[in-house]
């Protein structure tokens, strides 16, 4: 990133139809990993590669990766003036979508993300991303800024869609609620651009982090790669 290495020695693989979680302190590189997988041009890979369905996508631009089925929800999606969410959805969507939801219908008529509240942006992200019929979705802090009822609704939507389409997911979060609801098959901890722990039991990982700190994850023996 601008010549500064952010991610190092990173190995992560998400099997088909599985949901993985990624946690880690602020600035540890979670979003950077998401952008790198998505192919955002300013995040350059200096070593290694990204395989998607056995295909090396490391050199593909984001739109090509999107066409192959990689999608992400942005932590802070930008405002795009002059196009409504509804028009944009029609443009990108691979199928029909109809959400019987008053909040969504209201957002549909507004310009893409313009003046959307924190929670509204998340809802807009979710419906856009699922309209792409993705095979892998990275949710970058989809749960932050959502009230508890909205969180339930969004998680329900995520689970339904992922199940229906057998898509894989990477859920980036700072909160245990979404983990308890999504029940990730695997949880990874990122520290200073490295994955320092990978465990099947998100609760144990979370307990360690809460009782001690993320730093502790360097030494603890929970990780399947250490024991």
């Amino acid at each position: 990133m601008g010549g500064k290495p952010i991610l190092r020695d990173l190995n992560l693989s998400i099997p088909k139809a599985k949901t993985h979680a990624l946690i880690g302190p602020n600035g540890s590189g979670k979003s950077t990993l998401a952008y790198t997988i998505m192919g955002i041009p300013k995040y350059k890979i200096t070593h290694g590669k990204i395989l998607f369905n056995k295909k090396d996508v490391s050199l593909l631009p984001p739109e090509k990766r999107a066409k192959l089925g990689i999608a992400m929800t942005f932590q802070n999606p930008p405002e795009v003036k002059g196009v409504t969410l509804s028009e944009f959805m029609k443009r990108i969507s691979k199928g029909t979508f109809d959400y019987d939801d008053p909040i969504i219908s209201r957002l549909m008529q507004r310009e893409l993300n313009v003046g959307f509240s924190g929670g509204e942006k998340k809802i807009s992200e979710i419906i856009q991303v699922f309209s792409l019929k993705p095979k892998l979705v990275i949710f970058d802090e989809i749960d932050s800024g959502l009230d508890i009822n909205k969180l339930d609704r969004v998680v329900q939507l995520m689970r339904e869609e992922l199940e229906k389409t057998h898509a894989s997911a990477l859920v980036i979060t700072h909160r245990p609620e979404i983990l308890s609801k999504m029940k990730p098959d695997m949880t990874h901890v990122m520290l200073d651009g490295k994955i320092v722990c990978t465990s099947k039991n998100w609760r144990k990982v979370w307990d360690t982090v809460r009782r001690h700190s993320y730093e502790k994850c360097k030494e603890c023996k929970l990780s399947i790669h250490k024991s």
Binding site: K42, P61, P62, F74, P77, E79, V80, K81, G82, L132
Partner: protein
Amino acid sequence: MKNAKSASYQYINHKIKEIYAQNGITLLPMKEAMKKIPLAKRYAKKGRNEGYFMWVKKQPKFPLSSCVSVSSKNISQHVLNLLVVEKGIHVDMLSLCNALVENLNATHDAKGTIILKEGASATFKSIHRWGKDDKLTTNYRFVLEKDAKLSYYYKSLSPPARMDIKTTVLCYEGAKADMEIVINASGSDVKTTDTLYLNGDNASGTIKSRIVVSNGSEAKVYSQIVGNAAGRGHLDCQGMLLDNESRVTFIPKLIDKNKDVTMTHEASIGKISEEELNYLRSRGLSEDEAIELIVNGFLR
């Protein structure tokens, strides 16, 4: 009755193709009107005998339209239009000027005056579509008498290599004018001069310009509001640059000649946001498609 018109003037090269108006509207070729109608005589200009004279005396049911085109090579049009709308009448005018194909080397030089009498109102849409090698010069003047209202919209999405357009609006007491100028210049030299005069108390108006430049374009946008009376005016200029070979210069001016006038302006020039571009690309749009979407959104 989707395409119904209350008056229609169609002109190609140097010939009238259609001239039609409903009862209550006088529509004549300028050449003829200059001889018969004193009002037209007053606006006559030497060397300009193309164009229309339109006088709206009864509330029209449908929009009015004019379409001036060029279809052959090396045509040089010198147009003079006059539109007069009587008291309290509302009109919707669509004015289209274009070259039907590229590479005609046309010259379109148009002058016009639009008079909105007391309490009259108009939406005036002017759409230009010219080829790269055409030359375009326009000079339009709108006179808004007491309490008249104008909403003016000019759009050119593929300007010729050289264009110079001038629009002047005079607002008298209580009159209100909103002007919007939208230009997407690619490889063009564009000059626009937009002036709004607040000549009566409570006159008000805005000038909004949206200019996108690419492929070595150079746009100079002169917009000014002259406050001669206790009115309100606002200037809003925004430019977007798509490459480093292009340039936009905004020259906004607020000229205050009355202590009770309120005038404000905002101007900004920027590039396409990298963040927006990447966001749209991550949703499957190619880089060009994403730029197009952002540009269209900006010009909308």
